[in-house]
Symmetry: none
DNA sequence: AATGAATGAGCTTTCATTCAT
DNA sequence: AATGAATGAAAGCTCATTCAT
């Protein structure tokens, strides 16, 4: 175990402090309406201090994306560890994604809504981390195709986007819903996974489906 | 045939002129970076003229959304007319959606990216028109369930969001792609429809699927 | 009786129509917040029509001043006709002034408040008409001094301003008062006149005072 | 003696710096024609700095009024201290008022002309400070009535407005006069005071008047 | 004469960013 | 490293005025 460098420790603390404050503020007011001074106040630091840790306001949002997506990628890989069946992995992925959304609502709002906000992030910026995350799914598809349980004619990229799009849209609806308990993301995860698994599966080999299909809410 | 009222004609023209200019500018620079003067210049009118037709900048975006979604809804209903099989309707919907995106790239960019821009549109504003459009799909699902060709346990709302999310994400990737010919939206439409149809279908009754699923159609 | 020229008649009508509308609008919203289109709408004419009768917005206010003050001057001179005692004239003047304010509240508001509004009117513009009106009072003072009923050492100009200032301030308070019936301008006129008459009078010759001094309201 | 807090000192300085600059600019160009950037340039600060000290342009004018009237009120009370005779106090009040106008010409212009500028200040805003100032005079009247030296039938409110109106109008004429030395405000103060004292006084008890009223004092 | 759609100059205010302390 | 007062660029919107009809 390496000795903790107090300075680095302190630095890390303030870096994270600002980032967490920014996530909350961005989620509440939106990126454009969030002021640097709002973030600074929430983080308990001076406005100028933010510029010691981040290049500018955009960089704060970018860093949230990069760092949090990194954690998300590590998490989904850990969640898939030990699962053999590619179709089962699809279900795990969906459940994991929605659990993250549920557990980190503010972060989810920022990543889903605010990140789509500006050309900065969707035209100039290449969200490599997002692709890395999505690629985990594409690899599941490829693995399924190699094993013959996923229809070979399906384009992994198209499936990847379709699947992520489905998860993302549902997550957004959940985030935007006034009554947050309106529907259970967990049950929804299984519905979506179920549809995709059946839709992807080769012939009758839909091992990924449970005997009893968990159905919809409401 | 009624005589054309020149004043009304002119008025309509300028309204549309500004709206079309706004779509282009919003698509290029994004809503927040687009200046009223940019739109005015593009439309060939003075800045102030925009305020004769729209309350403010937000109203321009909102009107684009309302009017264009209205056309979209009418179009998809027309496209579905005469189609009987609900599962086949799913395919028609997907193809229609992507054709619109292909034919109106700038508009698609605005609707997809910029409308997600601010809390204004996703938190306060209720996009009734979007829901109306999505409801066309939900009704297809319900119809299929009544006929016994779509599994009864699937929630039409969840399916609706999942399907729209899938279409939307793919459309966004297409819009954002530097090389626009990178992939064919038309072929993709069939892939996505195919996966959803199989995923939704009751038992073996997947009438909506062709005997051989072509990866690239046409 | 001269034959009425229909064109001139029409012209006069519209001129006055606009002016009367302007007085109301200026009184309600203030000169700066009043829009030409407000006046046009109130007058029932098009915006552009106003510019056929007046050079610009300032000119509308100016014309109100010039024309209405002209009427005021004629009126006060008529009111003073037949009155011989200079001190009595002071009382007549005060009563006349307040009666005009009472009878033309909107106009009073405009003349008192809005005319003081801009440097336009109080720095560059020389309100000759106002001076003409005030000069009626100065002449009363001079006449009184010649007759020996007003103390010779009093500067007519200073008295004139003091008297008008007193009337004007009280009128403004009355105009601004929420409850318009809060105090009677008529009784107040006598109080003010009384104080000035006593203050101006030579020795005991205060013929202008009634046997019973009408006293204050409330 | 407490140590001077440099921050507070600096802050106070900038607040006053801006206010003083604003008084000059308002006096020169009028409130409406004065731009924030004019004030900023005059004060030697950036435009934005003004908004660190004041809510908006209106607030600058309002603050000038509140703060300067506060000083005026304190000053007139100090000037009246030690004077016993109510009628004499009237003279002191007039002299004090005109001395302030003479010593702070720009401020006087702003208070007199610009404060009457808009409904903002005369309809919505209740100038409590002005009333407080005027009330000093009303109290002199009441005191005089209690002592039996001022006629009991006179309404202190009417007298207060009349007196202030007289002072204010003369001050305005002085402020607006091109040749500032045209007339002496100091001599005029005595003339006005003289007229009011005689006009207000009970019977022959006009102790406030010198045996020989000088037309020009000092 | 009358209209009213169109013009475009003008200005307050915000807030990301800097930098002297 | 931290502060936070100061900066100043940037742009949405209003409305007096014009002018083609």
């Amino acid at each position: 175990m390496p000795p903790v460098d107090p300075a680095a420790r302190e630095r890390t603390d303030k870096h994270d402090l600002i980032l967490d404050a920014a996530i909350e503020v961005f989620a509440e007011k939106g990126f454009h309406h969030a002021r640097i001074s709002d973030i600074a106040r929430r983080a308990g630091v001076a406005d100028g201090t933010i510029y010691l840790y981040f290049r500018n306001k955009d960089d704060v949002l970018l860093t949230i994306f990069e760092e949090k997506m990194g954690i998300l990628i590590a998490g989904v890989q850990a969640a898939l560890e030990g699962v053999d069946d590619p179709l089962q992995k699809v279900r795990i992925f969906a459940r994991y994604h929605f659990r993250q959304v549920e557990d980190h609502r503010a972060l989810a709002e920022v990543l889903q809504i605010e990140l789509r906000l500006s050309n900065k992030f969707l035209k100039e910026y290449r969200p490599e981390k997002l692709w890395e995350y999505l690629n985990v799914f594409a690899n599941i598809v490829r693995e399924g195709q190699e094993r013959g349980v996923v229809r070979a004619e399906l384009d992994p990229f198209v499936l990847m986007w379709a699947f992520f799009g489905a998860l993302d849209e549902i997550a957004m609806q959940w985030v935007l819903a006034k009554r947050r308990d309106k529907f259970s993301l967990e049950a929804t995860a299984d519905t979506v996974a179920d549809v995709f698994i059946r839709g992807m599966a080769e012939g009758g080999s839909i091992a990924g489906l449970p005997a009893t299909v968990p159905h919809t809410v409401e």
